[in-house]
Symmetry: C2
Subunit: 733 residues, 2 copies
């Protein structure tokens, strides 16, 4: 690929971006698309807006950019939660680091690379590799500059990472601020052992009154979800049972819980057995209800600290029974996985691990195909029939400059949904946990399949006579990387252009919701704004993307600095776009409380160390013992820094400090808020909510009463579970 | 190595063993050596026995074998603790598995190996390799027998491992039975933050009365240990201070603690600040005492459960301050590491890890030297000058059959002391933890440096033209192993003979204590029996040894079954010898409570899987696709079994179940034992004990009172800290 091909590619992409950004600025002003571009606002206030200025509505404007730029971190925290803040901090971190890297690499390293060899063609026909370290002569005295740049970038990254210890403080502040969260008081108990004599509910009550008598408040059993028909018949049965049972008057709202509307006795109810009162009702022992219990319960405690203690310890000598975890927030809990028996999760996890490894391995095929397109001239030598196709100049530029990363992008778009299925099957009890687990999987996937696979394919194609044999040899891997990274940099530049820039435009335009909205509005002729659901932020695709570009930036910075301007543009656009999306589009139904930060931190350190190792290999190849020997202490220092951060900051993301929790408890006790919280606790978790969407429709057919009630809550329940695996598939229900 | 060389070697070893065993049966009857061979008894009752039968004392007898054989597991538990029982179970496990393996391999696999090729020399001159799988022809139909044997051995091992779930029960029973252990009520707090205004002691009291007000009982600060002179002056100062302070009458025995004798006010004391009474004495704030405090405290709780909870959670937002762990038993606590600031341990751990890796790597040199001696004929080709030395038949047999493993043994004997130093520096807070950590290090070391290094050296020497290049290639490692293991089996047979059998004789005779005793008695003319200290069982050398022989047994069983009879003899002797040693020789001052079992379990599974992978490689080389494809499900099943055990049994070895602990607390509360325990708690931990030996002598010179008191306790305190790193060095103080 030469300079003109790069210019073609960047020209196409800049144009596409400009068009799409302008298109977005127009589309967002259309009142009919408010559900697509203002999901966040819509969730807050469901008011229609009628914009009377017709002309202005069709003129592109930059107002959204200004709005997104001026928004403060508090606003973002209020709308997007801590996760959004953490994610944007990662983007800001990248901007800062790569600004420093850009200055030093473009003004110091790039000229050295370019003037490393004396002979040069006209700049327009120059291959991109002249800007990489490949052009520096062996044993050159100028390699100290590369080493210096490496030091500056590494120190800068480490210092910035250390200053982000404020994220630990933010997490603590987030915990402290979440006074009303019922999850702090709740422990999810799984794998309650089965016995013939007692129901699960009685067992839970006995166990916790026995061992946690001072702090146990009450509990709520989880019931099996069956098919709609089954639930319907159950609903009827329970309704009849309750009607004939006068006990329900005694227990009042605590015992009766309605999945849809509140407390009307005609709709579907869940029973909360509370035998600690000593009044085990006959209906609780009825075989019908007992069969529905699934060995899982939510146990409420009097203090947050008691819940924390109960969730952290091992309850029983058998570690596979009475498994306790802190419960997720009511909106965060992933009900479907609670019905699955706990004892099969360990085997599921192993199966998923194997499936993941196989998937990642076999995904190499499209990646190799893509990479072979970039190196068309080399592939031609292997397959001579390709020459006929590539003789035209424009075709060649298109194929080498644009097509490969588009193909890769299409292949990659199916990955997040599959990873989401994997994470679901793994048995996460919370939606945020599932998304986080997906994020990690997608991250591994892209690092392996975009970064390493491309580099190794490059290495294999370059020296296809001898290298394939040695490819697996661990001793030669640093050298292989050192040889391959500078020459793969060309591809990575185009990848940043296409995948990076284009993905941001795509993110802004939201093509799938747009199409769905149009389909819904113009084909189905439905004018209701609220008919279209809103989504949570797709951290599982966006965090890995930002981190992948970070990895590309670090590894290429010293070796092929030409990537940095494109990356900086990407990160700057990403900053604007993601802020806009968080403020306007996505709804925050649940959050992990900043648990994405350890992923970001670890990946950044990994990228840094990998960069240093590759640089070590390059310095070795270029026969510069001084630069090599200066790189080794840098690697050691980076690893030590990482270990220190792991010791100092990481535990707070794993466990909640006792002091913080006890202080919160005290504050609430002093202010008398505790009683209020206790009253809200038993009604906090509605199991049936998640099934209300499918159940709702069938119920509505039968009960006119429910029809009236559900009109208010229907939308919310419809929003509730739209989140099917992956962003793409979610948008095409 | 041929059959006659093997017979020479086994002849020498059997003779040596028989002589040493007889010698032991004589030596143990000598009254003068009672301190060497009856340390355990001596620790219980310090009575002299005078054996009048002079003749019988010099006739070898088998009485010790009978006694060791008939001892019940309860007796062993009573004298050796749970660790001894677990260790002996590992030996019994090996006997059982290798009995089954021996039957199937010697009667099914060995004949098939031998008759794999038709031509045979006279049996006496036959090379040992004819009994290995090397002799089976490629594509032989008889390889199913090897596969069957592999299945039988693997299933047998897994079933036996599963039945050892009783060890989990034993651990729980051990916890339940240890009612009087003060460690259950005690939490060790490290990294207490420093402040100008308050002393550590005041801080601890404030923190725990604040956050654990309902369960906090009292605490005890840990003071810096200085040189003897420094302590002496301190003792005087404190003594004077207390004399002038009338407060000590109020606090009584709780406030004053004597390191040597009890409560006499003239000897050395430690203060236990108890400001929760609101009576912070002036002496606690004195700068002298404050300077001695080292940010570490033992905190006593009212219930075991409260201590457990406090030890498990994260106390503060800063995870590197207020670090809590359950305290070890008073006799188990490793005081020296408590004086080290907590914040440097993470960097020490990394340094030790690096040092360990370097040590293990550079230890390859003696191993390669050893292994080259076994393959003298091959080495001769490389270095022709060796021929002159090896032309004599006896010399050759000695060099190939005996010398290599003796050299290796000598080199290996320096490893445990070094590993013990490593583990000490790592910062273990308990002696048992330090020993366990050493055990793991020695285990990694022997598996890598005895097993893998030998095999890979073998592979390198065998094909030294081309193999060294490919040695690091991960894809060829299974094949390399498959080729090398059968031919290294010869060396492993001699290793079992020399290192295994000889180490047992050595263990029985206890040469170093014997020499030391003789020196003490006949050169120094000291007739006092109690002058010689007794030792705890060297698990850190013996557990790895038994597990290494297990690994050798598993990997060689199917491929070179000739090793099995020798191994069985070894394990049977080990069973007798170790039982005898536990009953008679070693004192149990502290124990880990069966924490060696996870190490044993994991290593056994590792050995099994490695065996299966090597077998897979061998079946591949022998072109038997059926046997290969049958081996893969076996590997998967073994790994699944391991994962199940890890889920089901392992957590009990990491955390104590809340139910067990709460039940214990209740039982004690009901029986009224709690008050008694509370009274004993504050005096349970004597920091000064560990320094009493060195301090004692100097104090005795000054204070006649202490001289009298220390006569009773002096022996015990002298026994207390004899355990210097490693067995060897410990026996040569």
């Amino acid at each position: 690929m030469n300079i003109s091909a790069l210019l073609t590619s960047s020209g196409i992409n800049t144009a596409v971006c400009a068009v799409l950004f302008s298109l977005y600025s127009i589309l967002r002003k259309q009142p009919s698309l408010v559900s697509v571009y203002f999901g966040q606002k819509l969730a807050q206030v469901r008011s229609k807006r009628n914009d009377p200025f017709w002309l202005q509505r069709f003129i592109p404007s930059a107002s959204w950019i200004v709005k997104s730029w001026v928004a403060s971190e508090e606003e973002l925290f209020a709308t997007g939660g801590l996760d959004a803040v953490v994610f944007l901090r990662a983007v800001v971190f990248s901007i800062r680091v790569f600004s420093v890297a850009g200055v030093i690499c473009l003004f110091l390293v790039l000229p050295l690379n370019y003037f490393g060899k004396e002979e040069h063609k006209h700049i327009r026909d120059e291959q991109l590799s002249v800007f990489t370290i490949e052009d520096v002569k062996e044993g050159s005295r100028w390699l100290w500059a590369h080493c210096l740049a490496l030091y500056v970038i590494s120190s800068c990254a480490c210092i910035l990472l250390y200053f982000y210890k404020s994220i630990t403080k933010m997490r603590l502040a987030y915990i402290t601020a979440s006074h009303s969260h019922p999850s702090h008081f709740t422990v999810l108990v799984r794998a309650i052992p089965w016995s013939q004599e007692e129901s699960y509910g009685v067992k839970v009550a006995k166990f916790f009154t026995d061992y946690y008598s001072s702090s146990y408040l009450s509990h709520q059993m989880i019931y099996h979800s069956g098919a709609v028909q089954k639930l319907m018949t159950d609903a009827e049965k329970i309704y009849n049972m309750l009607k004939s049972n006068s006990m329900d008057q005694h227990y009042g709202s605590r015992l009766l819980r309605c999945g849809f509307c509140g407390g009307t006795s005609t709709s579907f109810k869940i029973l909360s057995p509370e035998p600690e009162n000593g009044r085990t009702t006959s209906c609780l022992d009825s075989p019908d209800l007992r069969e529905k219990e699934c060995g899982v319960a939510l146990v409420f405690f009097r203090t947050r600290y008691a819940a924390l203690v109960a969730s952290e310890g091992l309850q029983q000598p058998n570690p596979m029974s009475w498994v306790t975890d802190l419960a997720p927030e009511p909106s965060d809990i992933y009900w479907s996985n609670l019905y699955v028996p706990y004892r099969i999760f360990w085997i599921r996890k192993i199966a998923i691990l194997v499936a993941f490894i196989l998937f990642v391995t076999f995904f190499l095929i499209p990646v190799v195909f893509t990479q072979s397109l970039v190196h068309l001239d080399k592939v031609e030598k292997i397959f001579p029939f390709m020459k006929d196709i590539t003789e035209r100049r424009f075709m060649k530029q298109l194929i080498t400059g644009y097509l490969p990363s588009v193909i890769l992008m299409i292949f990659l778009s199916i990955v997040p949904p599959i990873m989401m299925v994997f994470s679901t099957l793994e048995g996460s009890i919370s939606r945020s946990g599932r998304k986080r687990s997906t994020c990690i999987k997608v991250l591994y996937f892209v690092i392996w399949n975009v970064f390493f696979a491309n580099i190794l394919t490059e290495a294999a194609i370059d020296h296809y006579q001898d290298s394939i044999m040695k490819l697996g040899d661990p001793k030669t891997i640093p050298n292989q990387l050192a040889k391959a990274v500078p020459s793969t940099a060309t591809f990575f530049v185009t990848y940043v252009l296409t995948s990076g820039w284009a993905s941001l435009s795509c993110e802004l335009i939201q093509p799938f919701p747009l199409l769905y909205n149009s389909f819904y509005r113009f084909i189905l002729r439905n004018k209701d704004d609220s008919s279209y659901g809103s989504y949570t932020f797709p951290y599982h695709t966006e965090v890995p993307r930002v981190l992948l570009f970070g990895l590309l930036g670090f590894t290429c910075s010293v070796l092929a600095p030409l990537i940095l301007p494109f990356l900086l543009v990407y990160f700057f656009l990403a900053y604007l776009v993601y802020r806009n999306q968080i403020l306007d589009v996505y709804v925050t139904k649940y959050q992990s409380g900043g648990l994405y930060w350890p992923i970001i931190h670890n990946t950044t350190i990994f990228s840094l160390v990998l960069t240093q190792i590759i640089a070590l290999g390059v310095f070795g190849i270029k026969r510069s013992p001084i630069a090599s020997s200066f790189t080794i202490p840098l690697i050691i220092c980076t690893l030590l820094f990482h270990e220190y951060c792991r010791q100092r900051f990481h535990p707070v993301f794993k466990k909640t400090p006792a002091k913080t929790i006890i202080d919160m408890d005290r504050e609430d006790e002093h202010s008398g808020r505790m009683e209020e919280i206790y009253q809200k606790l038993p009604s906090a978790y509605f199991q049936i909510n998640s099934e209300s969407r499918s159940l709702g429709k069938s119920l509505e057919l039968n009960c006119p009463e429910i029809q009236a009630n559900s009109r208010e809550t229907g939308n919310i329940s419809r929003l509730e579970d739209l989140e099917t695996p992956g962003k793409m598939s979610a948008r095409l229900p």
